[in-house]
Symmetry: C2
Subunit: 488 residues, 2 copies
């Protein structure tokens, strides 16, 4: 049995659970804790460290979420096998916990969610309740602050703000973004590596030009259908790779002979899978296997997570410049502000400068300034905290309301994001679930919408329930109606 | 000799020169005036119609500019051969002159210019004077009106303005744009055919997806280098086609087996060539020759013309849906507002809806509303008139200042846009012109920058002088210095 040598600092700003989490992670990374080793039980460690058992639970939970350890029922917690572990030292272990800028503490509380061109759906048509997984809570939009910031920018704007700006986006905004993604997501980059653009779709188009040539791109299946359509509209050979509970299966990826893999490691859409560190390392190892291979990390949804601290980006574990990180403000602020960004690894940055530097920035400078002010003056942090709380309340309410359905349905993907999945434990088909829900005026979304490869048999009886755009009464009413439809 | 049967209406709002111009154009289109026929001399027609000779001069000048007639020194004016003339009836003849919306009269006075992602250059570095052909006059930017409009939009904005909008752009803005391009450019389209995007580069990327496949694209040579680089970054086979004084030589285009031809008929960059109606018809005939052929009309520069009324867009003559029209507000308003638009012919609109309708609009809705207000409340019209006057004054001043250089240089491309070309009448090379200008602190631009095909021998001794970004004293000083450098 592993002996814990941690010295907890009760006067530190770093919370106790976080100190335990960091310590164990570090021990695993340094090889002091080996794969297969059993950790002390939460009860015994809590006694030993003289802390509440819930504190140790929280630390273990986070380590489980990130794939460092796993829980075996009735046997305890064991260290996972993590491939190429020494490579991540200093990045994965160092940067994320040390990320101690102003934003970190606020974001530490945060949980993760999703975008990439998501719509602000509200219940339209004849639906009494629309559980759209794409909807966000627009009533939380910081209208007055945004207007205030807009007025301020306009008042101070000189004529230069209407002249052509930097092709990558204004340096000041790129600095704000790099600070934010470093502290909140562990992303390692200079502002120079960031390219600001009007939406993920545009950035993917630009990336197509940077990468050049006719590539074979691998996607998880199921995946985010919009991205699938985008890659299809490119001159790309799109292949799909099956997933297991850890995400894209790397052995299957290898068989596809793909050049590039598109993944959502922090919160896969639609399954909600969080890719554990072991699988991340496998993916990076795959990418390291050839110079032309890259991983596109769509971190569409990193801001809202309902349990534990945010899981760092895959880019944070990338030591060899293989990850292209794409983030957006569409989900966290509002779809119509149309600002996304892409972090290029050094080799692609060079290609960009050489071949694509003449593409003008697609976001107006006024809009860039407003967003920059919003981030740098601390409004974004406050807004995120507020939204996290709002979404967590909606999430918890939905989970509570779903209790009567738990006998008949398995819930998954519920730890992060703005939707969860219900899978029928009996033989109810997806179609039956959609149709009976529709018959009581409720719109739910079939998992098969996200199954992009026609060859794959759609798994039956799984639906997505989004809660981002619904208020309390709509959630209650919606689930009541579903109960009526499904449990009759 | 052709007998003129025109009935001038002195009480009409339509100016006399315009009535004469319309009448003769109509006669040519209807075949009453045949190719090769001689028109009455300006003096005799003026006497016959009892108008000032300058009125007839103006009408003939416009007809010459558009390629309906040509002037033969000492012999008079003759009707040109115009291919497929009957096809344009009703479009070319009908719509443009009849374009009588509110904007028309204002724009009638207008002259044309250039953009497509042009920069607002100012004299930087050690240059005393920088004759950049890409610079615009940012001091003319309607700052206070723009801010006022922005504040108004912000004040009235509801939360829906931050939700996701129409993928093509807001309907209201597309209506304003369609009215504007119809009245000012004769473009025939419904708002449904318009797609708003953040800059020409983005729209060309989107067009690549709509057209699909690996195409061969033909460009004029010399051409706008940025567009050349864009097409090169696509998976396109880019071929160049030589120009004569009417523009792209269609016989040469045919030899290239191109699918698509990219042209700037209203004011070619960099040569300033205005494509006459005959050549336009030839191009359209080429496009009509195969279902997959299209013409991309980059009307980057349609707002500023220093002589005669604006020349209608090529799209206005297109009866078979072969022209993709691209326009921008970067040059007419300001580069950083980042709004361009594309008019798709019906067949491509269908392809767009089927394959690319999921691409979100890249312009924020707030920015769309501001521009829409700016156009629909008449500010754009006023701004254009103001800028036209400013640029015409700069143009006229530059022409005046250049008088001492006329012995040694030929001036061309001076009727429209924000630059003109000087070609050495002696054996001075382009390089010598650039270097001697640089030695007195003046930056001029070599024509060879725009010669994109490495195989083409750069014609020696031609430089571009842009005046958009220079004030009166800079123009005077710049030409004085050039005189010193070049005529010593």
């Amino acid at each position: 049995m592993y002996e814990m040598t941690i010295q907890l600092q009760t006067d530190s700003k770093v919370r106790l659970y976080e100190q335990i989490y960091r310590h164990i992670k570090q021990e695993i990374i340094e090889g002091k804790l080996l794969a297969g080793e059993r950790l002390p039980s939460t009860r015994s460690l809590a006694e030993y460290l003289q802390v509440a058992r819930s504190t140790v639970d929280e630390a273990y939970g986070q380590l489980c979420d990130e794939g460092y350890i796993e829980a075996c029922p009735y046997r305890g917690y064991f260290v996972c096998a993590v491939e190429e572990l020494l490579q991540v030292e200093g990045t994965y272990s160092g940067n994320v916990p040390k990320g101690s800028s102003q934003l970190t503490d606020a974001l530490k509380e945060q949980q993760t969610t999703a975008d990439g061109g998501f719509e602000a759906h509200t219940s339209k048509r004849a639906w009494q309740v629309d559980f759209s997984p794409y909807a966000i809570d627009m009533s939380g939009f910081p209208m007055s602050v945004w207007k205030k910031m807009s007025r301020k920018v306009l008042t101070e704007a000189g004529v230069d703000l209407f002249a052509k700006g930097d092709a990558k986006g204004d340096m000041s905004l790129r600095r704000s973004i790099s600070r934010y993604i470093h502290s909140a997501r562990g992303v390692e980059c200079t502002p120079d590596q960031i390219i600001v653009g009007a939406g993920n779709e545009y950035l993917l188009m630009l990336l197509e030009k940077i990468l050049g040539g006719k590539l074979r791109i691998a996607m998880e299946n199921p995946t985010y259908e919009r991205s699938y359509r985008i890659f299809h509209s490119f001159d790309y050979d799109v292949v799909t790779v099956p997933m297991d509970e850890d995400g894209m299966i790397v052995e299957e990826l290898k068989k596809t002979k793909a050049d590039v893999a598109y993944v959502m490691p922090s919160h896969q859409f639609p399954t909600g899978t969080v890719m554990p560190i072991g699988r991340r390392m496998e993916l990076l190892k795959w990418a390291n296997g050839a110079e032309s291979r890259y991983l596109i990390e769509d971190d569409y949804d990193s801001e809202f997570r309902h349990r534990g601290k945010p899981i760092p980006a895959l880019q944070a574990s990338d030591k060899r410049g293989k990850v292209i990180y794409i983030g957006t403000f569409s989900k966290a602020i509002a779809p119509a502000i149309r600002v996304s960004f892409m972090v290029l690894p050094p080799a692609l940055l060079e290609k960009y400068q050489a071949d694509c530097g003449f593409y003008s920035c697609t976001v107006s400078r006024i809009d860039q300034c407003i967003l920059d002010g919003f981030i740098s003056e601390g409004y974004f942090e406050r807004h995120l905290n507020k939204m996290r709380k709002i979404y967590k309340e909606k999430h918890d309410l939905l989970m509570e309301c779903l209790k009567p359905l738990r006998g008949a349905f398995e819930i998954s993907g519920e730890n992060a994001g703005l939707h969860l999945l219900l899978t029928s434990k009996s033989d109810k088909s997806e179609r039956w679930l959609l149709e009976t829900a529709a018959s009581v005026g409720v719109k739910v979304y079939g998992l098969s919408d996200s199954i992009v490869d026609a060859g794959t048999e759609p798994p039956c009886g799984t639906v997505l329930l989004g809660f981002g755009g619904l208020d309390e009464s709509a959630i209650r009413r919606g689930v009541e109606l579903l109960q009526k439809a499904w449990l009759k």
